[in-house]
């Protein structure tokens, strides 16, 4: 079948099972947008290319399927760099199609030309510049294969206009079915099964450990191993901490769950790791926000480290047993090996450890002081009400900063893939577009975007996308008139010298702005207004809704491990000191 490159590209996306593409057309990608009219693929027209990327990420986080974004050359491509980097840091499977100037014009500084593959080389798992129309189905298949296997990540395919434009002879090609057999990737062979000997070595370490902690990272969710994780934890009766990227991978309401570790982690989660004699790190990467000062991190712990990416093993902390492999397969093998060793009966006596942990939990719970009448709302209170007024399987997305930490702390995540945030890159503005992507992928679920006022102003325009596309996401906007996390650091570490950190409660008027974008809009300023506003928002399902919560400006996130200090120097809420 003779078709042109543009038709082949869309057809190749269909062959990969793509049902939705987030994008925005422009000159160089025009020929690919033409066949989209006939395609069953749904296209979501964003208002800014960054939004397309975060939507594709939200979609991928929520569904487990690769997100697809399609944008034009030059500024379109550069606007897409932030979400690509975000997806790279958080291992999100993403395929980004960018238009490029015609192949003969590359390197001439043509209109809307930029070196897209050069710019994105360091923020993608891999990228391609396709030079022949005939290569399109193969390259698209390779892109999806790379994005979704091994450690997932973003893959960019840069497509010069002349190989997709029917007016160019170079766009002529003969269609062929993309399949694994035609891939040309001699250097890409992801490993999935763990070495059985190492698995047995890990099992032996676990049996004799007196103070073990299972340290779970986002890799568990990528490996779809939540079920296997729970079986393992229950088999050996070992407490679990879930990092910011792994919230929901293990139920918060489970008695073995200690919550989130790290800079703003739960006291018990942080302290249990510090006192541990064995960390069982599963799909985690010893991020600096988890470890604090590295030489003071879990000083007495041996480490079992399981990761699909060999480069993570030993990158930060030297493991005693390093297992390269897919977490789901390795955990299943580990449970089996532990069963062979005698299962729970063969485990060391850990009663003292359990009682030490319960002691910390009792002494250092998460606390905040409720606001006095006349004071603005406490964000923690709003989150508790929101949590208790929404379905158990609500998907929560978040931006970056104080509201993100409070959401992670105060929500109760009992299901995997209900928490979507920007962990590694810390991208402000992630929440709203990610929520839209998640809602597109999971239309039957309630999706709440938790956002700060600083973040909201970065990507709010995508609510126009949601309103016109009838994508009814809900936004809980925590307005504290500040770049709150920066304000907190200036208060604590810069002698309360507040430099360029004040926004405003009143400008913009978020209710008017949301209404102008086609959303329903509500505002709550007193505790008794919170639940009614949330209940009203939950009833609105024909358009997006924004609820602005006027929050206390001086509220700080605790616990906190100040940057550069050891996790043993954790600061709890002043009321507990």
């Amino acid at each position: 079948m003779d078709i042109n490159g543009g038709q082949a590209l869309v057809k190749a996306l269909e062959c990969e099972g793509v049902e939705v593409v987030f994008g925005l057309p422009g000159g160089a990608i025009l020929p690919v947008y033409d066949p989209i009219i006939e395609s069953p693929i749904r296209h979501i027209l964003v208002r800014h290319e960054q939004g397309a990327g975060h939507m594709a990420e939200g979609y991928a986080h929520a569904t487990g399927r690769p997100g697809v974004m399609m944008i034009t050359s030059g500024p379109g491509a550069t606007n897409g760099v932030t979400p690509l980097c975000d997806a790279y840091m958080d291992s999100v499977p993403l395929v980004c199609i960018t238009g490029q100037v015609p192949y003969p014009a590359i390197g001439t500084d043509a209109f809307q030309e930029c070196d897209t593959t050069g710019i994105t080389m360091s923020v993608t798992k891999h990228n391609f510049l396709v030079t022949e129309a005939q290569d399109i189905p193969r390259v698209i298949h390779e892109a999806f294969h790379i994005a979704t296997t091994g450690r997932p990540g973003p893959v960019l395919v840069d497509v010069p206009k002349d190989i997709v434009d029917p007016n160019s002879p170079r766009s002529a090609m003969t269609w062929y079915e993309p399949s694994d057999d035609i891939m040309e990737l001699p250097g890409y062979n992801p490993v999935t099964a763990g070495d059985p000997e190492l698995v047995h070595a890990a099992a032996r370490l676990i049996c004799s450990a007196e103070r073990p902690v299972i340290y779970v990272g986002g890799g568990i969710l990528k490996a779809r191993a939540a079920h296997e994780l729970r079986a393992l934890a229950e088999l050996i009766d070992v407490p679990v901490v879930t990092t910011l990227m792994a919230r929901g991978a293990f139920p918060d309401s489970h008695e073995l769950c200690l919550g989130m570790p790290g800079m703003h982690g739960n006291y018990t989660a942080v302290t249990a790791m510090q006192h541990s004699d064995l960390l069982i790190a599963l799909g985690a990467r010893f991020d600096d926000r988890v470890t604090g000062r590295l030489d003071g991190f879990a000083p007495d712990a041996k480490v079992i480290h399981v990761d699909i990416d060999a480069a993570e093993l030993g990158k930060v902390r030297r493991p005693d047993v390093a297992i390269r492999g897919d977490c789901r397969l390795v955990i299943a093998a580990l449970s089996e090996a532990l069963g062979d060793c005698g299962g729970r009966a063969a485990q060391a006596d850990r009663r003292a450890w359990r009682s030490q942990i319960s002691g910390w939990q009792e002494r250092y719970p998460l606390v905040y002081e409720q606001s006095q009448p006349g004071e603005r709302l406490k964000p923690q209170y709003v989150l508790e009400v929101l949590r208790d007024s929404t379905p158990d399987d609500t998907i929560v997305t978040s931006g970056v900063g104080q509201h993100q930490m409070w959401a992670s702390q105060y929500w109760r995540f009992d299901h995997p893939y209900t928490w979507i945030n920007s962990g590694g890159l810390g991208t402000m503005g992630f929440s709203v577009p990610a929520a839209i992507g998640a809602k597109v992928g999971m239309p039957d679920r309630t999706v709440w975007a938790v956002d700060g006022d600083g973040c909201f102003q970065m990507t709010a325009q995508e609510l126009v996308t949601a309103a016109t596309g009838r994508i009814p996401v809900k936004v809980a906007l925590f307005n504290n008139a500040y770049l709150g996390m920066v304000r907190q650091w200036q208060e604590m570490f810069y002698d309360e010298r507040y430099s360029e950190v004040y926004l405003s409660y009143e400008v913009p008027d978020y209710v008017k702005w949301a209404e102008a974008m086609g959303c329903a809009a509500l505002r709550a300023e007193a505790p008794e207004e919170v639940a009614p506003a949330i209940n009203e928002a939950n009833e609105i399902n024909d358009r997006p809704v924004v609820v602005e919560f006027r929050c206390e400006r001086a509220e700080n996130v605790y616990p906190m491990v100040p940057a550069g200090l050891s996790n043993s120097d954790i600061l709890v809420d002043p009321s507990l000191r």
Partner: protein, 197 residues
């Protein structure tokens, strides 16, 4: 003087043997299991545009210091070989290798231990030769000793070539300095494993 191919082969095999016996400080340290600052890594990569940029970009992004780098096609036109020497004080060699392995276009990576490999580097150098007769004889003797070749000469200058172990190039370069080096170019080392006995 031209380059007699047979003689060069003979010289090569001679020095190859001496590689195993005459050890540089690095080689001796490696043999003794001590820390070696510079390690040689040979990668086979797909022969595609931009692959060198990916490798170089990785080095810079991850903070790996590269001492030398040589790139050329292999006998199989689908692949090129990138041979580089990395300063393992800047990053553990294991990290360098693992990160490189993640590049999709990198097909194979081999770390060559100094004691089990043959390393060669080519140097082209122009030296001043307008000197006294005694000094000129000294220069010719030096060229002879090191089995270097005179590729071109003028009234006042000589263009020499030497292919040898990098440490030997260092030594040759040092000795030539007394005559005055006009211009010098080295290729960066290439290496292959020694044949098992």
């Amino acid at each position: 003087m031209t380059e007699p191919t047979n003689a060069e082969d003979a010289a090569e095999s001679e020095t190859a043997v001496s590689d195993a016996t005459e050890r540089t400080p690095d080689e001796a340290a490696a043999a003794a299991g001590e820390f070696v600052q510079f390690r040689t890594v040979v990668t086979t990569v797909e022969n595609k545009p931009g692959v060198l940029a990916r490798v170089a970009g990785l080095f810079s992004r991850r903070g790996f210091n590269i001492e030398s780098l040589a790139v050329a096609p292999t006998a199989d036109e689908r692949f090129s070989r990138i041979t580089f020497t990395v300063d393992v004080a800047s990053a553990p060699l294991e990290q360098v290798v693992k990160q490189l392995d993640k590049l999709i276009n990198v097909v194979e990576i081999r770390e060559l231990s100094p004691v089990e490999s043959v390393e060669r580097e080519l140097m082209l150098v122009t030296v001043k030769s307008a000197v006294s007769n005694d000094r000129r004889h000294e220069l010719l003797d030096l060229i002879d000793d090191f089995r270097a070749y005179v590729l071109d000469q003028s009234q006042t200058r000589m263009l020499l070539s030497l292919s040898a172990r990098p440490a030997r190039l260092d030594e040759f370069e040092q000795r030539l300095r007394t005559f005055g080096i006009v211009e010098l170019q080295r290729t960066g080392r290439v290496a292959l494993p020694m044949l098992s006995q």
